[in-house]
């Protein structure tokens, strides 16, 4: 305390100067319109500059919020788009096309979009004449629901690789739900707590995914053998199916976790091992597991129903 007083006494001249300066400036600004206006314009300028700079910073730091908002919107859009396509394809008497779902992902090309649009246009014409063919929207919406989530933990260097997401049971997350990223399939929900869930990613040694090739009625199993994190193996594709490098691999309609047609990767190598009648296909995965930040959890509403049916069939056998 004494040293503070001592210090203040030592700088008393500066304090006095500042005091007089403030008084003089106050009088100057209080009585002189010209100085007032100059002062105000200077204040506005400083304010503007500061706010501008703050805004730049805020928008930089706000990127996460903006991303989260976008991913939420995308979840709604994906749900809605899938719903529309379901209606369209059912109306035209077809099952949901594998390729059409691809248009929901950023990796899709414009031709697919065009196909989808054409299908929609033709269905609209049909729907005008025969509305009874179209199932109610509620039927379709009860099929798949997308929940946006942020990756809060991620491992890629082990044999058992996991991801932790910031969504849990309170957000409607259940075990065995599928997870997709911006480029394609990511994994399957394993453990669920109230506010978080863990994902067995495709680069987990125990992950198995039902997958097939585009426009070919062949379904196999995709798994990770270890090693490079962008390579997986697809087996059980029969040898009569023509396979070529670059073919896209999608999730199949048999999957209980993913909607059909979610892109997974593309054919990198393919061979038929000696004495076997099925391919062993090396798949280059679309997703870069190290950089994923935002994902969508897919809630397949009819999973329980399908499981019960499958169990019943198994029991009957």
């Amino acid at each position: 305390m004494w040293s503070i007083l001592n210090y203040l006494y030592r700088i008393r001249l500066h304090i006095l100067f500042v005091l007089y300066l403030i008084i003089a400036l106050w009088m100057l600004l209080d009585t002189n319109p010209y100085h007032q206006s100059r002062w105000r314009s200077a204040i506005v300028e400083i304010q503007g500059n500061t706010l501008n700079r703050l805004n730049t910073w805020r928008s930089y730091w706000g990127l996460r919020e903006a991303n989260e908002e976008l991913i939420e919107q995308l979840a709604i859009a994906r749900t809605r788009l899938y719903q529309e396509q379901f209606i369209d394809s059912t109306a035209s008497g077809k099952l949901p096309q594998i390729k059409s779902f691809d248009s929901l992902f950023t990796g899709s090309n414009s031709n697919n979009k065009l196909d989808t649009l054409q299908t929609q246009a033709s269905t609209k014409r049909e729907s005008d004449t025969n509305t009874t063919l179209i199932p109610k929207a509620s039927d379709a919406s009860s099929e798949y629901k997308f929940i946006a989530a942020r990756v809060v933990g991620n491992s890629t260097i082990h044999r058992h690789n996991y991801m932790i997401l910031n969504r849990g049971a309170t957000d409607g997350v259940k075990p065995r739900m599928g997870v997709t990223g911006p480029k394609g399939a990511i994994g399957i929900v394993d453990q669920v707590s109230d506010h978080f869930c863990s994902i067995i990613t495709l680069i987990h040694s125990k992950a198995r995914l039902s997958a097939g090739l585009a426009k070919k009625d062949a379904v196999g199993t995709l798994f990770w053998e270890g090693g490079m994190i962008n390579r997986a193996t697809l087996i059980d594709i029969p040898m009569h199916v023509p396979v070529k490098k670059g073919d896209t691999v999608y999730t199949s309609a048999y999957s209980l976790t993913f909607p059909p047609g979610v892109p997974v990767g593309r054919v990198h190598t393919h061979r038929i091992p000696d004495g076997e009648s099925v391919y062993r296909i090396g798949v280059e995965l679309f997703t870069d597991f190290r950089s994923v930040q935002y994902v969508h959890l897919i809630d397949y509403k009819k999973r329980e129903e399908r499981l019960r049916l499958e169990d019943k069939i198994a029991n009957d056998d």
Partner: protein, 173 residues
């Protein structure tokens, strides 16, 4: 006591002169000879800094009261008073002046007195002209006016000083 009266007289006379006579003049419409500041410059350097600053502030404020421009000269005079102690220390060190109690024209000589007084008056003039325009884009113009202001203030006040003290010296002789 005599010193106190003398300096008070200087302060009063220059202020009156400034208000009554010099405020009516504006050389070339641009430069006002603010010679009242000369009274502050010649105040004894032995005065405590806080007292000197308070006198300067009050003196500036007095002039502001007559011009109805509150704060304007008070600020300039306070600035002058703030820098004077440091300037005096530096000046005394450089000029090896052996009577630090008071700086007087008679004992300093014209050249050294001008060296001492010009920067102080310059600071006062510059702050006045700068406060008047409040613009950095006209800084060269402000500097020019300040230089001219210093010249005129010194010319007028030293003329007065020489007249008063010159005649006093002659009378003493």
């Amino acid at each position: 006591m005599i010193d106190l009266m003398r300096y008070t007289a200087w302060l009063a006379v220059l202020m009156l002169l400034q208000i009554i006579l010099l405020d009516q003049m504006a050389l070339l419409g641009l430069i006002s000879p603010y010679i009242y500041v000369f009274a502050l410059v010649i105040l004894p350097v032995g005065l405590p800094a806080w007292l000197y600053m308070t006198i300067a502030f009050g003196y500036g404020l007095t002039y502001d009261a007559f011009t109805a421009n509150w704060g304007y000269h008070a600020l300039a005079c306070t600035l002058l008073a703030y820098i004077r102690p440091a300037w005096v220390r530096w000046f005394l060190l450089k000029s090896r002046y052996d009577d630090p109690g008071s700086i007087r024209l008679n004992s300093l000589g014209w050249a050294r007195f001008l060296t001492y007084a010009s920067p102080l008056i310059g600071v006062h003039q510059f702050s006045l002209y700068f406060l008047e325009s409040l613009s950095f884009t006209e800084i060269h113009w402000i500097l020019l006016r300040s230089l001219a202001g210093v010249f005129i203030v010194l010319l007028c006040s030293l003329g007065l000083y020489a007249t008063l003290y010159g005649s006093a010296t002659r009378q003493n002789n």
